[in-house]
Subunit: 273 residues, 2 copies
């Protein structure tokens, strides 16, 4: 099963169309939520990425920095793309995704055209058991020692949690705010640069690893897409480095199935109460 066209759930949910008068529109799909109908920040960013690419001479979002102005919900939304300088190597633009209530996210977008080719240097993938030896949270949620919400996002993106970072689910939280998981689309759609924007915000808050559950709203998120991912599972590692005063960071590195670093992200978030 492999889908990379308009029939995959991700492509349907991020389908940006040009309406009359050249404005871009999208129907935000409420099933890409992190709970209570609040849309996942990576899903919103991927939608903005699709708009940026549509208005660019280049194919791929390589650097996307978004401010999250308020929580996004399902329904119609517009995407305004203000072009910046564009050249042979890269192009800049500013993307604003807005719904009836006003702007939801504003994004500095840099697009470029990534090509196949080897790394001169690539940070090695951490040593993690294969997906079959990792924990399918969605399938085992009923066994967990702590209540685990399964938001819509978990139906679209399969994840297999590294057992070394999954002890919190068994009631034995860690001192380290780190989560690692293999991820892929549930419908078999291969990963590409646009989907890496989603994967860069796909795990629960790293505070889960330390036993603190709850939503941690994203304030500002930067994603760098570094290479075209190979087919198969991606390994995602999320790590917090400083938690204080109601603020946390979430630092992601994503490797493809060949062990190449394909994306990095960092977000500032409010901590769960």
């Amino acid at each position: 099963m492999s889908q990379n066209d308009e029939t995959s759930a991700f492509d349907l949910a991020t389908a940006v169309r040009r309406a009359e008068g050249s404005a871009l529109q999208v129907d935000l799909d409420p099933t890409w939520d992190v709970g209570n109908g609040i849309l996942n920040g990576g899903y919103l960013l991927a939608t903005a990425g699709r708009a940026a690419v549509l208005e660019s001479p280049h194919e791929h979002p390589v650097a996307m920095s978004a401010s999250y102005l308020r929580a996004g919900a399902g329904g119609p939304a517009t995407l305004a793309v203000t072009p910046g300088p564009a050249g042979r190597t890269l192009a800049h633009s500013l993307v604003t995704l807005a719904d009836d209530g006003g702007p939801v996210i504003t994004v500095q977008a840099t697009t470029a055209t990534l090509v196949e080719g080897p790394s001169e240097y690539s940070s090695p993938m951490p040593d993690v058991p294969g997906p079959d030896q990792c924990l399918d949270m969605a399938a085992n949620a009923h066994l967990a020692a702590v209540p685990i919400q399964l938001p819509g996002l978990t139906r679209h993106v399969e994840s297999r949690l590294d057992p070394a970072t999954a002890m919190w689910a068994l009631g034995r939280p860690s001192e380290d705010p780190v989560l690692r998981a293999w991820v892929r689309f549930a419908d078999g759609r291969p990963a590409d640069p646009l989907s890496l924007l989603l994967f860069a915000d796909v795990l629960p808050p790293t505070s889960f690893a330390t036993g603190r559950m709850g939503w941690a709203p994203t304030v500002q998120l930067q994603v760098l897409v570094r290479a075209l991912p190979a087919p198969g599972w991606c390994l995602v590692e999320a790590r917090a480095s400083e938690i204080a005063g109601g603020w946390s960071d979430e630092d992601y590195r994503i490797w493809d199935s060949t062990g190449r670093l394909v994306a990095q992200s960092r977000q500032l978030a409010r901590t769960a109460r």
Copy 2:
């Protein structure tokens, strides 16, 4: 010697004033350059941070994401701040710094008010010898095995390179694209959140560590300021994680003299030719 007012070089060089009609203006100081009069990206970002704070109910830049549209040079510039949602915890805005040639950087700015208080979790500082046991590049440039340019920036910010990441200067490059250095203002001005925006882009490209010299222009840079820095030296660690196809990242972590993580940054850059 301690300066934290309008007489410090940093405060003078980033002094933003309100001109007639409420536009903000700055005289960009050509001596904050990285060579050939090209201004340091952190200096430009700190200037934008000062404008964001001026137009915000909050005191500190906590998340700043900038697209670098073209190289900046010394001379008069304007700062246009478009306010976004603002609340008790944080405020969003978009800042555009432009000179006679048009926009130089556009910045998603998030401001907030950081307060003193302990960390719940803080990534530990790496084990580095004290500043007195580290290498003063500026004072020893004439001894280096490879030609080292000393741009204007190195006169404003003192740095002491960790000997473990300084072997390239002796003609023995490393395989690891990592640099670590103690930094502080040469005139004794204490560090604060605004100056961390500068320190988050203050080291040479990490490609220097692997023996590849040359300018690596910043494409997009995000800086998170996580805490009020204590007086004294800051330790800066810069690391590249993926180098391929003419692109590199530069990932910074900055600790204050008490060992607390006070800032993080990540940039996408073009690699030196």
